[in-house]
């Protein structure tokens, strides 16, 4: 069952150099209880997509079109006040850099209690009790209630962020690269806590990352993004075993693996500027590109049940062959 | 190749200037050039070698920053007025009458478009009578109570203000850079002593200190410029120090050090060019402060009594607000526009040099 549906979302940034189409025609849906991973490199539009869901886009950015269907209604039609009742209460979000994402002048206790104070009608005592028990649940000793963010490590701060996000028992958690500022061992512990909580509460989760390792580890379904567009959407095993978009194939071939040594086949060239893109956004770096790729954009073609690719030639022999050769 | 000769040219020129000063003092008893004259000689050569030539040589970078600055309309407006003011200060005096020329016949003449009623001495009847006096195009900005042309005085005042602003700021910046860079680069005890000294200088309220020193040493334009220059370097020193400190740990400086670059090379090729942007901004933003300080000094009667500075005209004008209001209004407007222009330009430049600002 779809709990959240994003349809043809367009978010543009109006800079002096031109219109940056950070998110252009992006659609995906989130099923109840699943983990959906948005994967992509910098500038792919994964963070902007997530922020657009909750209407958290700042100027010079604007959401130019599309729908965000939650609970049968389009969040984009909500008034700011209605939207605020969703934020933090039914859809919560955590961000990349925990130190920056917590306000340095307030204790973490204050910050965890804040969403509860707005959204839940609890007494002060109940609020405080709940906040303390949340802290302990994410593995922070309750004495830390009165600590300031700078007094805690990155991993601890990120756990405090989770405690804050879960304060009002949201149905959806959006996690925007929550581990990219953490060390591997801290990351592993953090992911463990996160996945436990998710199962415990039956939450649905959108997890944004650039790390394909994490995707393999936690995702149920995957959306691969590049230059503001969706390249491929599929079940996680399909993405790793039967990728049908040259970009996904390229990413997997670029990935060094520590369990065995393999040859890297990088994607040539640079990530393009998001102003003035024509045709398929990937054609400038695609080794299978034909002349037509510079002109036509294929929306999304079905490869299989639940597996979509935005490549015109996703069924061509070359790509199928390349897909088979991807060894991760 | 030019790099080596540039140092040579610079050293030669300094030697020539020092020699001239020596001849001036010992043989000509100080008549060859005024102290400011020497300064301008040094200033123009310095600017040519270390500002104009590098700007020309790095055309790509120059045009990049120019494009960024140009996008700020207020900054361009400011620049336009400053250029106008510079032309006015240089060429103006050739077209206006002598600002010190006194003509009691036409005293208290209002600006063009205004008419005032004044009591005038009638030479035929030998008594005072009331008369309507209108401004004339001969003296478009009117006359003061001694019959001096205000336009002429404003033009010569522009020269004074720009002199003070540019020269004092330049001196302050040179001192600031030397203190800031050495403090950051040598660190430890040197840093401690220099920064405590800076703290002490900063603790004196700038204007009170200025008044105090002028009170003790007397009012003379060159001296005032020197004093402002020698007390106004503290902000620059601090900013340069903190920039230099952060640059020191940047990876490109580490890379240079790992290559075996000498301290001098790192200071002159990496530190100074990288604080240059900040310096230009500090300079543009401290010029108006300096101009205001001189104007305020003259305004309270501590300015050089031999030059017609805007502050002095204002001071004279405030006593007769009821009758000749324009004498107080006009120099103030010039002062205001000048300061405003430098502030606009400085702010635009700061945005242009700030890599974080999105233009």
């Amino acid at each position: 069952m779809n709990i959240l549906e994003v349809k043809q979302l367009k978010t543009y940034f109006f800079t002096r150099r031109g219109i940056v189409k950070a998110v252009d025609d992006v659609s995906f849906d989130l099923q109840k209880g699943e983990v959906l991973c948005l994967v992509g490199e910098s500038g792919s539009g994964k963070t902007v997509s997530a922020l657009s869901i909750l209407g958290l886009i700042d100027l010079p950015g604007r959401i130019m079109g599309g729908e965000v269907i939650f609970d049968g209604k389009d969040l984009r039609q909500y008034t700011p006040r209605q939207l605020r009742n969703i934020r933090g209460k039914r859809i919560a979000m955590i961000f990349q850099d925990p130190k920056e994402s917590l306000n340095p002048v307030f204790t973490i206790g204050v910050q965890i209690m804040e969403p509860m104070k707005i959204h839940l009608k609890l007494s002060d005592k109940e609020t405080k009790e709940k906040a303390t028990s949340l802290l302990e649940r994410v593995g922070i000793p309750k004495e830390r209630f009165f600590s300031y963010p700078h007094e805690l490590s990155g991993g601890m701060n990120q756990r405090a962020m989770i405690a804050m996000a879960l304060a009002c028992d949201p149905e959806i958690l959006i996690a925007d690269e929550p581990t990219s500022a953490l060390d591997v061992t801290t990351q592993a512990l953090f992911l463990e806590v996160l996945m436990d909580l998710k199962k415990e509460r039956g939450m649905s989760m959108i997890f944004i990352t650039h790390d394909l390792g994490i995707v393999a580890e936690i995702a149920d379904r995957v959306v691969v993004m590049y230059a503001g567009r969706v390249m491929e959407k599929a079940e996680v095993t399909q993405i790793f075993e039967n990728p049908r978009h040259p970009y996904t194939i390229g990413l997997l071939n670029s990935l060094p693996n520590f369990t065995k040594k393999k040859k890297l086949m990088p994607i040539p060239g640079q990530i393009p500027s998001l102003i003035d893109l024509r045709g398929c956004v990937f054609h400038t770096r695609c080794r299978f590109a034909k002349e037509i790729c510079a002109k036509v954009i294929l929306q999304e073609a079905t490869v299989d049940e639940g597996h979509l690719s935005a490549c015109l030639f996703h069924d061509s022999q070359e790509i199928v062959k390349a897909s088979k050769e991807v060894g991760v | 190749m030019f790099k080596l000769s540039r140092k040579l040219i610079f050293v030669t020129i300094i030697a020539v200037i020092i020699a001239t000063i020596a001849i001036d003092f010992f043989a000509m008893s100080g008549k060859l050039l005024s102290p400011l004259g020497y300064f301008y000689a040094f200033f123009s050569v310095f600017m040519l070698l270390y500002v104009v030539y590098p700007l020309y040589k790095n055309r790509r970078l120059t045009s990049y920053y120019w494009e960024r600055t140009r996008k700020n309309r207020l900054a361009m407006l400011g620049l336009f007025f400053i250029v106008f003011l510079v032309i006015l200060a240089i060429a103006g005096p050739f077209f206006t009458q002598d600002p010190n020329h006194v003509n009691f016949e036409e005293k208290n003449l209002p600006p063009v478009g205004f008419t005032t009623s004044q009591s005038v001495y009638d030479s035929q009847t030998g008594s005072l009578r009331n008369a309507e006096i209108s401004g004339t195009w001969k003296h478009p900005l009117g006359m003061d109570d001694k019959g001096r042309d205000i336009l002429a005085m404003l033009v010569s005042g522009a020269r004074v203000s720009l002199q003070v602003g540019l020269v004092a700021t330049f001196i302050a910046l040179i001192i600031g850079v030397i203190i800031g860079v050495s403090s950051a680069y040598f660190g430890g005890m040197v840093d401690n002593i220099l920064m405590r000294f800076t703290d002490i200088m900063m603790t004196f309220p700038f204007f009170l200190l200025l008044v105090f020193i002028v009170f003790i040493f007397g009012a003379d334009l060159t001296l005032i410029i020197l004093i402002i220059g020698m007390t106004g370097w503290t902000g620059a020193a601090r900013i340069v120090r903190s920039e230099a400190l952060s640059l020191r740990t940047r990876e490109f400086v580490l890379a240079s050090r790992a290559l075996g670059a000498s301290d001098a090379r790192i200071i002159f090729r990496h530190l100074i060019p990288n604080v240059m942007g900040t310096l230009i901004v500090i300079a543009t933003l401290s010029i108006p402060g300096v101009i205001l300080a001189e104007a305020a000094l003259s305004f309270i009667g501590l300015g050089d009594p031999t030059v017609a500075s805007w502050g002095r005209i204002l001071n004279a004008g405030q006593d007769n607000l009821e009758t000749t209001w324009w004498v107080a209004v006009e120099p103030g407007i010039m002062l205001f526009l000048t300061v405003l222009s430098f502030n606009f330009l400085g702010d635009g430049l700061r945005d242009a040099f700030d890599p974080m600002s999105e233009l």
């Binding site: - | 207020l74 004196f204 003790i216």
Partner: protein, 329 residues
């Protein structure tokens, strides 16, 4: 970073120690400047005697005066005397008013204080509010208006602004007296009214400056990730701005306001007092200059520096108190 945090008390003790060093530096520099001066405090007096034709007395009088001011002693003893006098609160005699300088100052400081206090309150209240407002409304017409207004406020010479206010409101419209009436009781509505123009004169530049600082500090903080977090929690925009942004933006601004006391405020207050004839420290120092009254000028300069020093110290302490991140290093 590992390492123990020093205690607040220790930190303040250390700042006090620094301040003492700076205070000593201030005294020393003033002393050096005074000794470098061409001429001595007695020159004017001597010139008068010379003019009256009793030339043979000059040497005698000179010696008497030198002895009186300790100028016949070696330099280091003069220095010691100077410091010890100041430490005993002995600021010398004002020749022009025939009063001890300390007495003169204690009579007049309240006027300066009143002017500066009222102007600061005026500037902070309005400056901070329009600064926040214009940051929140970034890139709208209101923001541009505030920006241009602030630039004008910063650029307008405050002594000229004072004269223009007098010209318009006192001379042309007759709403205020052109001169400050010293007979008014200090705490009265009339006095407050008389202070209106001076406070606008001194306060407008400060106000404009603060609104710029607040705007840029608020913009810096509006871009921070924690603001996004606050919004993602569903906080109303008011709370986001007034709680999360404001608190962080005010940290640097408080320091700047404190530090501003030295440069902008003292210079501005000095000129404002002169223009409006308010008998504060600026005005008496101004009078003293033209009466060649050394001791008063020195005393006012020193007081300015010491008050600045105290404000710097307060700024440091306030900052560490308000910002939990500061380690007392």
């Amino acid at each position: 970073m590992p390492g123990k945090k020093a205690s607040m008390g220790e930190y303040i003790a250390r700042r006090l120690f620094y301040s003492l060093i700076i205070a000593w530096g201030i005294l020393t520099i003033t002393f050096i400047l005074l000794r470098l001066a061409p001429g001595s405090p007695a020159d004017n007096y001597l010139a008068n005697i010379a003019a009256s034709g009793r030339a043979r007395d000059i040497a005698q009088v000179q010696a008497a005066i030198d002895a009186r001011y300790g100028l016949d002693k070696p330099l280091y003893l003069q220095y010691a005397d100077y410091i010890s006098n100041l430490l005993h609160g002995n600021l010398g005699w004002s020749l022009s008013t025939s009063l001890p300088v300390s007495e003169l100052l204690s009579k007049h400081w309240i006027y300066s204080f009143e002017l500066i206090f009222l102007s600061t309150v005026f500037a902070v209240l309005i400056g901070v509010s329009i600064g926040i407002y214009s940051a929140v409304k970034q890139r709208t017409k209101a923001d541009y208006a505030v920006t241009v207004f602030s630039f004008m406020g910063i650029s307008i010479p405050n002594f000229w602004l004072g004269i223009m206010l007098i010209l318009i409101f006192s001379v042309k419209l007759g709403l205020f007296k052109t001169y400050y009436d010293t007979s008014l009781p200090l705490f009265s509505l009339e006095n407050l009214k008389a202070m209106t123009l001076p406070v606008i004169t001194l306060g407008s530049g400060m106000l404009a400056g603060y609104s710029r600082y607040v705007r840029s500090a608020a913009l810096d903080n509006l871009r921070k990730d924690f603001v996004r977090t606050a919004r993602a929690k569903g906080l109303p925009e008011r709370t986001v701005i007034l709680k999360h942004v404001f608190r962080n933006a005010m940290l640097p601004v408080i320091t700047i306001i404190m530090l501003d006391m030295s440069g902008v405020v003292f210079g501005g207050a000095y000129l404002t007092e002169i223009i409006f004839g308010i008998p504060g420290l600026g005005r008496i120092s101004f009078n003293a200059i033209f009466a060649d009254d050394y001791a008063v000028v020195v005393a006012v300069t020193l007081i300015g520096a010491v008050v600045t020093l105290i404000f710097n110290l307060l700024a440091d302490i306030a900052y560490t108190y308000l910002d939990p991140r500061v380690r007392y290093v």
